[in-house]
């Protein structure tokens, strides 16, 4: 008659605890990988979106919002324009230019008692 295996009453809970610890470690590792994967996927999707719809920067959004709510302030961005530079590479935020505001004429148009003349109209 074969001898029945005996069970050590002390080692059973220890093995159960070891199995639980191993399971928890596995879950923890899986959670970490899932988090990293999510972050990586978010980055990839963001990059694809940025390539598909270029030019939408925070600055642009801010500018457009400002423009939509324009008041009597003439050119809010004019005084904060980047320094003029005649050389070098840069984005359009720092173009060289010849003025920080639209320039008024030195003399306003005068009334004319006669009609005719060169025509300025939409084209």
């Amino acid at each position: 008659m074969a001898e029945r295996p005996t069970t050590d009453p002390q080692s059973q809970p220890a093995r159960a605890q070891a199995r639980r610890d191993a399971g928890l470690k596995k879950i923890s590792r899986l959670t970490g990988w899932a988090l990293a994967g999510t972050l990586a996927l978010t980055g990839v999707i963001s990059e694809v979106a940025a390539q598909a719809r270029p030019g939408h920067t925070k600055a642009q959004a801010k500018t457009q919002t400002k423009a939509r709510h324009a008041t009597s302030t003439p050119t809010p961005s004019a005084s904060s324009s980047a320094s003029s530079s005649s050389s070098g590479t840069g984005t359009a935020q720092s173009p060289s230019d010849n003025g920080s505001a639209l320039q008024a004429p030195s003399q306003a148009p005068a009334p004319s008692s006669s009609s005719g003349g060169s025509v300025s109209g939409g084209s």
Partner: protein, 313 residues
């Protein structure tokens, strides 16, 4: 050369012809120099067309638009035109934006306007404007780059820049005074006639000098008019006009049907008149605080004058 649509005083001479998809006209106070003046203006317009046309496959602008995000070598005139366009965008908070090109093309304005106007209504797409900040320029290397899908259009500034440059060139080369008129974008230089140049402001530059509007005298700088009554074309969604709001990618809501502005240069005048159309109700206060004399015509034809624009006599 075609007959001028201008009532020219006896002491002046004028010539007009088609250029840049519109009517070009030069007036001089020294009739003996008219031919030379016209030659100078015509040469510059040819240079501008090669650099900045959106309707020429061989233009520098089309080369930049087709480059798919790579750097494209450009000439000095193109860089100047780009600078003028970017400056206009910056000083108007993006209400006049050179990256509007794709929105215009997909709305149907994709070739010379005569062809657009005569074509049957076609499906249009509305796209937002990427924004002028997306443009990269390398002045020392004379090259420009825009992101893939971004298309430049200098419609709001290149013609005005050409008028400024042409008037300055003529005045530097010839005695007397000169007025250059490119589709209603006017620049004057040299010695003006007594009292100034007579200019009729109205809805359409192609209308005669007796068209409804106002006549003023101007002696310096530039004068430009933007209007929603011209360059209109049919689409399945209704009629469109060419003054697009970069914020929506659609034609600007019509608060003012026509705006005329005087400024130190034609570029500044046209920048302001275009921005005023886009800004709508806030435009008068903006023009007033900028010190830019302007005449704004509402949809019903009533007129508002600001910043010293004269009352009619």
């Amino acid at each position: 050369m075609t007959a001028p649509a201008v009532a020219v005083p006896a002491a002046q001479a004028s010539a007009s012809w088609r250029a840049l998809g519109t009517r070009a006209c030069v007036l001089v106070t020294e009739p003996a120099h008219l031919e030379d003046a016209q030659a100078i203006v015509a040469q510059l317009l040819g240079e501008i067309d090669v650099a900045c046309s959106r309707f020429r496959e061989d233009s520098e602008l089309m080369g930049v638009n087709r480059a798919g995000g790579t750097w494209t070598p450009v000439g000095a005139l193109f860089l100047d035109a780009l600078d003028a366009a970017l400056r206009a965008a910056r000083l108007t908070d993006g209400d006049v934006d050179p990256t509007i090109g794709r929105a215009l093309r997909l709305a149907g304005y994709d070739r010379d306007f005569e062809l657009v106007r005569d074509a049957p209504p076609a499906r249009v797409r509305v796209v937002t404007t990427p924004g002028w900040q997306a443009v990269e320029r390398d002045v020392s290397g004379a090259r420009v780059r825009v992101p893939p899908g971004v298309e430049l259009d200098f419609g709001a500034t290149a013609k005005a820049l050409a008028a400024d440059r042409a008037a300055a060139r003529v005045a530097a080369a010839l005695p007397g005074g000169v007025l250059v008129n490119l589709g209603g974008d006017i620049a004057v230089a040299g010695e003006a006639p007594p009292g100034g140049w007579r200019v009729r402001v109205t809805d359409d530059h192609a209308a005669g000098p007796e068209a409804p509007g106002q006549t003023v005298m101007t002696a310096c700088g530039g004068l430009a008019t933007s209007s929603t009554t011209t360059r209109r074309w049919a689409s399945p969604a209704g009629e469109l006009h060419h003054v697009f709001d970069p914020g929506t990618g659609r034609p600007a809501e019509v608060v003012w049907r026509t705006v005329s502005v005087a400024a130190a240069t034609c570029v500044d005048a046209n920048t302001a008149s275009t921005a005023a159309i886009v800004r709508g109700g806030t435009a008068p206060a903006w023009l007033e605080s900028s010190g830019l004399p302007a005449r704004l015509v509402r949809r019903d034809g009533s007129v508002l004058r600001v910043a010293g624009w004269p009352e009619p006599r």
